[in-house]
């Protein structure tokens, strides 16, 4: 799991990431996972989420802010990274003005060619070919964290491994595969 | 009979606040007698009341009390009994308090089968505020707000309680005191929710507007209308229309809220079994 450096996790800078897509994709779960990993790593962290009918379909998002210092404003102002799991989410965030922002998207769900500040991966196809389609979101998270390492992978993995179920194992496999997808590209 | 029931009453607060001919004092005395026969100590009793004539019942009881807001006597009582099932909890309400503004609490206390004895002094109108119609005022009867006859039908509170799940339902009148005493004694021993509806006299407001202007008229009314349940069942349908059954009308064997919740606490490891 050390194929990628994660020096960026060790600054006291405020890091904002947004996990966006549609209800049912497990975005709140991903956000909680990242947040929990941050807390275990001794970082300060705030996670917020869209709530209500949005979590039953339609646009949904989870925001995570990580820092070594106390966090004031709890929402993302200029996200450093966005994981966009729908075409709508991708379009919403690529219009951002931030030069540093990276939007990671799924090529199957959003087929426009990559623009500057974007990275597309075949999460859907890969998870289907590995027969872990239910863990497609973890694969996306693995790739996203490889490119935007706001929390150490080791913490994410240790949390995923605490779930000993078959689903938990698939999640671990998907997450690791996602990290490699981003690392090999 | 022993005079020990006196310890449940605040004698220095007599005479009673209510009008001459009112039935409320009869109900309080019957409750005190039932508590005395059961030997419940006054400090182990919590009486909750709301607002209205019978909402002042706690003024004369030497027990713990919550004199709460209008219609909420059963909601306060639910908190008391829910938090400490070992207490004897009685809610004293009029028909306005229990059947009308507090109707929802009544339904749900019965549904939960929580161990409260609900005693309803049903005088068929709002006495305290000047004799307006309530949710038990019968169709066509007169009140200060149904001068042309009540356009609504009244609840049969006992039927409502039975349908909602009460494990004991009884009716008495302020004339049939023996029936009332026995009903209250049985209700106080029922672990679940009990309703004791007491048909009560209000000659000043209800009676005056409905051809029963004196206390004696009202007593005669209850005397002739109330029929013990065993006898009521044998009346013809026509006769039944003119009368109502008294005594314990309904018993249902089901666990009360405390018993069920204690199992949850045991399963959760919160209390020893």
């Amino acid at each position: 799991m050390n194929t990628l450096a994660h020096e960026d996790t060790c600054t006291n800078k405020r890091r904002e990431v947004v996990l966006a897509g549609s209800g049912g994709q497990g975005l709140v779960f991903l956000g909680r996972l990242v947040g929990q990993a941050a807390a275990r790593a001794g970082l300060r962290v705030v996670q917020t989420q869209s709530y209500g009918v949005a979590s039953r379909g339609g646009f949904s998002k989870s925001e995570v802010i990580v820092s070594e210092a106390p966090i004031a404003y709890p929402m993302a102002m200029d996200p450093w990274g966005v994981l966009a799991l729908t075409d709508e989410a991708r379009r919403m965030y690529r219009q951002g003005e931030s030069a540093n922002r990276l939007v990671v998207f799924d090529r199957y769900l959003s087929s426009d060619p990559e623009a500057a500040g974007e990275r597309g991966f075949p999460f859907t196809q890969e998870s289907r070919s590995l027969n872990i389609e239910g863990s497609f979101n973890l694969m996306a998270l693995g790739a996203f964290l490889a490119l935007r390492p706001v929390v150490p992978y080791a913490e994410v993995l240790s949390i995923l491994r605490e779930d000993g179920s078959a689903r938990g194992e698939a999640n671990v496999e998907a997450f690791q595969h996602g990290v490699h997808l981003a690392g090999d590209s | 009979m022993s005079r020990s029931y006196r310890k449940y009453l605040l004698h220095d607060k007599f005479p009673l606040f209510w009008c001459g001919g009112c039935g409320n004092g009869i109900i309080i005395a019957s409750l005190a007698r039932a508590l005395a026969r059961l030997g419940v100590e006054p400090h182990r009793v919590v009486a909750t009341t709301g607002i209205g004539c019978f909402g002042k019942a706690d003024d004369y009881l030497a027990t713990n009390s919550i004199h709460g807001t209008h219609g909420r006597a059963l909601a306060f009582a639910s908190g008391v009994k829910g938090a400490n099932p070992d207490l004897t909890v009685v809610s004293l309400m009029g028909d306005g308090d229990c059947a009308t503004i507090g109707g929802n609490h009544f339904l749900h206390a019965a549904r939960r089968n929580i161990g409260i004895t609900a005693i309803v002094s049903n005088n068929l109108n709002y006495g305290m505020t000047g004799g307006q119609y309530s949710a038990t005022t019968p169709l066509g009867e007169y009140s200060s707000t149904s001068l042309y006859g009540n356009p609504e039908e009244g609840f049969d509170l006992c039927e409502v309680a039975r349908a909602a799940g009460a494990s004991l339902v009884a009716r008495g009148t302020v004339y049939h005191v023996g029936v009332l005493d026995r009903a209250l004694e049985e209700a106080l021993q029922n672990p679940g929710f009990s309703l004791v509806e007491v048909m009560s006299s209000c000659p000043v407001h209800y009676g005056r507007r409905n051809r029963l202007p004196s206390p004696v008229d009202m007593m005669n009314h209850w005397k002739t209308r109330g029929v013990p349940i065993s006898r009521f069942a044998k009346l013809s349908p026509e006769k039944q229309m003119e009368h109502f059954p008294i005594g314990v009308l309904h018993r249902r064997d089901r666990d009360d809220f405390a018993t069920r919740y204690r199992r949850i606490q045991q399963d959760a490891g919160g209390v020893r079994s």
């Binding site: 909680r32 941050a38 004031a72 929402m75 | 182990r44 908190g79 938090a83 749900h108």
Partner: protein, 380 residues
């Protein structure tokens, strides 16, 4: 162990705080965005010998926690604006009968059903004045998950000390966000517990103050003491009385016991430079926006923040002293409503002092950028 940090939601931290404070009874009615509090109370209370009751409405919920508290169990409920509207009836009962209890209002956008899942801070005045009749109020406002825990613990303590209902005025942002928090070890907390009265049952008078100036202890139903909790005007024993002198003394005492305690109830913090160019006064989720301007100030900007954790009784002296310590510095009060606390601040600082509200009432948080632009206009 004590350095262990948990990652939990604000609403969950409320329940952790309540349990740590010794709460053993919850009655409530589910409502967004507070429902997680009911859910977690339902899950956790039975395991500690406590009781969760789901009532038929918020009127009954408030009544039930009063009844439960009178049996000696520390009791709480949770709701949002529409539910608090219903609870106001028996909030008055808790004030009148001096029954300790805690009400958590996770504010959402109104009026009426409003934006049911979106945040607001528009219940501030309802929390203070909503229940009819003369009365005071104790209202605490958390702005973080940590404060959800800390202020809930404090709410139970204040409720017991002053025998008064205490509101925790959270909001949909604070209630739903997750943060890393530190829950102290149980032995590190010393919650105030009910104690027996100093006198026997014959001499006990329920509505009176002890030697410490605080209301006398409240014995539980079922003890040798008889307790009369009365919503009607009453004498010190709880027995109804229409005597104007007794009514005057009772209303005055109920009001003053809270207002006179404002100094030790008040909880606040002041952060920022020694010589700010603007003083922000805020609370709850909006204080986080204001804090952002202080910790990461835009160029040529020197804001300070007075964050209020106690909203009621209103900390007049704290506001007055803080404003006086920055002569001529304008005050800006950001809040997610059309102007509630700002009016209190304006009352305290007087007409001459520049004091402006920055308001947003569309179910969205106040963003740091918009607040900065407003502040720039005020300063220049």
């Amino acid at each position: 162990m004590s350095a262990q940090r948990s990652f939990v939601q604000g609403n969950e931290a409320v329940v952790e705080g309540a349990l740590a404070a010794g709460a053993r009874y919850f009655a409530g009615y589910p409502i967004t965005p507070s429902s997680e509090i009911a859910e977690m109370a339902a899950r956790k209370l039975p395991g500690v010998g406590g009781v969760y009751m789901q009532m038929e409405d918020e009127i009954a919920s408030m009544a039930a926690i009063i009844g439960a508290s009178l049996t000696g169990k520390k009791s709480f409920t949770a709701t949002s604006g529409p539910g608090l509207s219903l609870m106001l009836e028996n909030l008055g009962m808790a004030i009148m009968a001096e029954v300790p209890c805690v009400i958590v209002d996770v504010q959402r956008s109104g009026p009426s059903t409003g934006l049911a899942t979106k945040p607001a801070q528009a219940d501030v005045m309802m929390a203070r004045w909503g229940s009819h009749g003369d009365h005071s109020a104790i209202v605490l406002a958390p702005s973080s998950v940590q404060e959800c825990f800390d202020l809930t613990v404090r709410a139970f303590d204040l409720a017991e000390q002053l025998r008064h209902p205490v509101l925790v005025l959270s909001d949909a942002i604070v209630g739903h966000m997750r943060e890393d928090v530190h829950f102290p070890e149980p032995e590190a907390l010393d919650p105030i517990t009910r104690r027996d009265p100093d006198v026997g049952p014959e001499e006990y008078v329920m509505h009176a103050d002890g030697a410490d100036g605080l209301p006398v202890p409240l014995p539980p139903f079922g003890s040798k003491y008889l307790v009369r909790a009365n919503s009607s005007a009453h004498d010190p024993s709880g027995y109804p009385s229409a005597d104007p002198g007794l009514a005057r003394a009772n209303i005055r005492r109920l009001h003053d016991k809270v207002e006179d305690a404002v100094e030790w109830i008040s909880d606040y913090s002041l952060i920022g430079p020694d010589e700010p160019d603007v003083l922000l006064i805020s609370y709850g989720a909006s204080a986080r926006t204001a804090e952002q301007l202080v910790v990461d100030p835009p160029t040529d900007s020197r804001p300070a923040l007075l964050k209020l954790r106690t909203l009621w009784p209103f900390p007049d002296r704290v506001i007055r002293d803080t404003v006086a310590s920055f002569p001529g510095v304008p005050v800006v009060v950001p809040e997610m409503n059309l102007g509630q606390i700002v009016r209190e601040v304006q009352r305290v600082v007087g007409k001459e002092h520049p004091c402006y509200g920055y308001h947003r009432s569309d179910g969205q948080p106040i963003e740091p950028g918009e607040l900065h632009r407003f502040v720039e206009d005020v300063v220049t």
